[in-house]
Amino acid sequence: MRSRVTARADLFAAAEAAEARRPVPAPSAAVSPPPPPQQQAARSRPRQLWYAVVFPALGGAQSNDVSLERLCLHAQRFTPWVSIEPPDALLLEIRGSIKLFGSLAALHADIDAAWNGLKLRAQSSTAPSTLAALWLARAGQKALIDDAGLLAGQLAKLPVACTSWDVSRLSTLRTMGVSRIGELMRLPRAGIARRFGRAAVLDLDIALARQPSARRAFAAREQFRERCDFETEVEALAYLQKALEPIIQRCAQFLRERQAGVQALEIKLKHRTRPVTRIRLGLASVTGDPGRLADVSMQKLSRLELAAPILSLELRSGRLQPLSADSLDVFACLGGAGGRDTAPQLVERLRARLGEEAVYGICPVPEHRPEAAWQRVHALQTGGVPHAVRRIHRRADDASDMPRPIWLLKEPARLAAADIVELHRSRSMLEEGPERIESGWWDGKDVARDYYIVRHAGGARLWIFQERRSKCWYVHGVFA
């Protein structure tokens, strides 16, 4: 009963839209007359069936959203539509799952068994409307109602307190002598609306399945986050790596369930006094592969110098990105005998240890000045499709007839007069030239140079130029 995260919300929205098509009382009307019982309610089978579960143990706890979320994940085994009812309850729409589990009774028992398995005290109930199910569950009645017509009779017996309305409203009701929902339902609607607001009337209508109620479907967190607290402060990196390993496995599992990958991870190390150490891990491509995630994080951790002992370790994933299926090359294993890596893996392993800036690609730029005719590329194209623009550049370069040196010096090295005499005396040969490069007047770095290729005595070939204004000679490249 698992479906994609995105699909879950859509399904729910579609159901709400279907509900919304039914006439809803105009909000401007002071008090609407009671809406006619729904078509579905008139028949024995309402369209939606809600299983509500209340965990009394969670009611008082401070931050139980997290644990409710965790319980939601359990509930998603039974249906993709689960919503959180703070502070202590969950609502599951189970109409679609009945067939799969055999019968309503079997399904209800199965879900209850899940809470038992977690050693949680739970009160559950099933009813055709959200609030009816919730109220029944709060009241501790284990009811399985599949007929909207029976709702009014079942709800009438419940105490008003199980509505979990606010305290002032409940105390007013008490002073009015209303203790059961049945007594409340007998009161005139206009009177209830005047005293308690239209919301109270609406709640009653929802509970009786006369009005639809919107619930937000729970969508699993879109980020992986897990913390590991150490019993004692940890100083050994090896221990840290041991602790991280299972977390990475769970992270990979988390990604697999969502058919997603990440391109960045963050490890946070908390110290007693010092500020938190953050380690950012970058991956060359989107991945959910546990091997690659572990590889990069271990590499990064092994280079870490701990400033202080560590209290806790937390792994957070970056933004989840959908995994695109790569086609596997059938003959890839013929290329290399080892073939245990992919190009992105190699790049990210090198970057994890040597730093982001230390690993880069290069590409030509259509520009006449040699120093501007290339640039570093840090976003590596690890996919198969070559860059169309770069192809064009390459063709332009093929056209230039004079060869270019393999090494370009960072700064042209000025030749002293003695060097030039030396070049002359040592039977240096002029192979090609001059090639005049005169460009760049528009950005203030204009050059006017005559380039020559010179074979130095013994065979070293140099790319030298004469600055046309100063008449000075420079070496700019080496034909290695």
């Binding site: 290329g335 080892g338 190699l346 800036e357 230390a358 690609g361 390459r394 290695a480």
Partner: protein, 229 residues
Amino acid sequence: MPREALSLGSILADARVWKLSLSSRDASAGHSPSRPVWSTGRSALDARLPGGGWPTASLIEVLLDAPGLGEVQLFLPALAQSQKVLGETSWLVWIAPPHEPFAPALAQHGIDLDRLLVVRPISATEALWAAEQALASGVCAAVLLWLKGTDDRWLRRLKLAAQAGGALGVLFRPERHRFESSPAALRLLLTRGDDSPRLDILKVQGGRPGPVELDCSAPVALSANFELT
């Protein structure tokens, strides 16, 4: 590795499967078909190397008198050819080159720059580590490494990595390491000659060491427009 590829590997390992390997396409006999050989682009040099080209899955050591003797150009034809043949798994990794590789020049030589990686490690150990990773990765056609000095143990590790990954490993070192022992399958010495650089094969597995005649274009003498200023 995906499971499919592994099973394909086991099929190919079966002696009954007759396969047309990359190297048999080179139509050069006399070498093991499991290790492709890339032509050096110079017939005189090809003739001296077993298999007729640079051996892959092994380490080649080039000892240099001085940089700029055409040491990179020795390998450029082979690099371009290997990139064409191998496709996806033909990354070139240049580790610690002495200067910036000039992209337009490499493009002129037919190198696919989309699959070229320049690595700038901060120390020799880092460089050796990076070379080992790249050689063993199986996605590299060739790994070129520039080093001032290293020890024998690391060279052995590089050789093993090259054998595992099937890449062409080239190590450039200064000439002073000439008399040290080296596990490289092929050792070359490039020195300044009278007019053009001289290439000596110091050690070649399955071949005969000795000097190699490199054909060089006839340069013109310095002309008058190269003037003192």
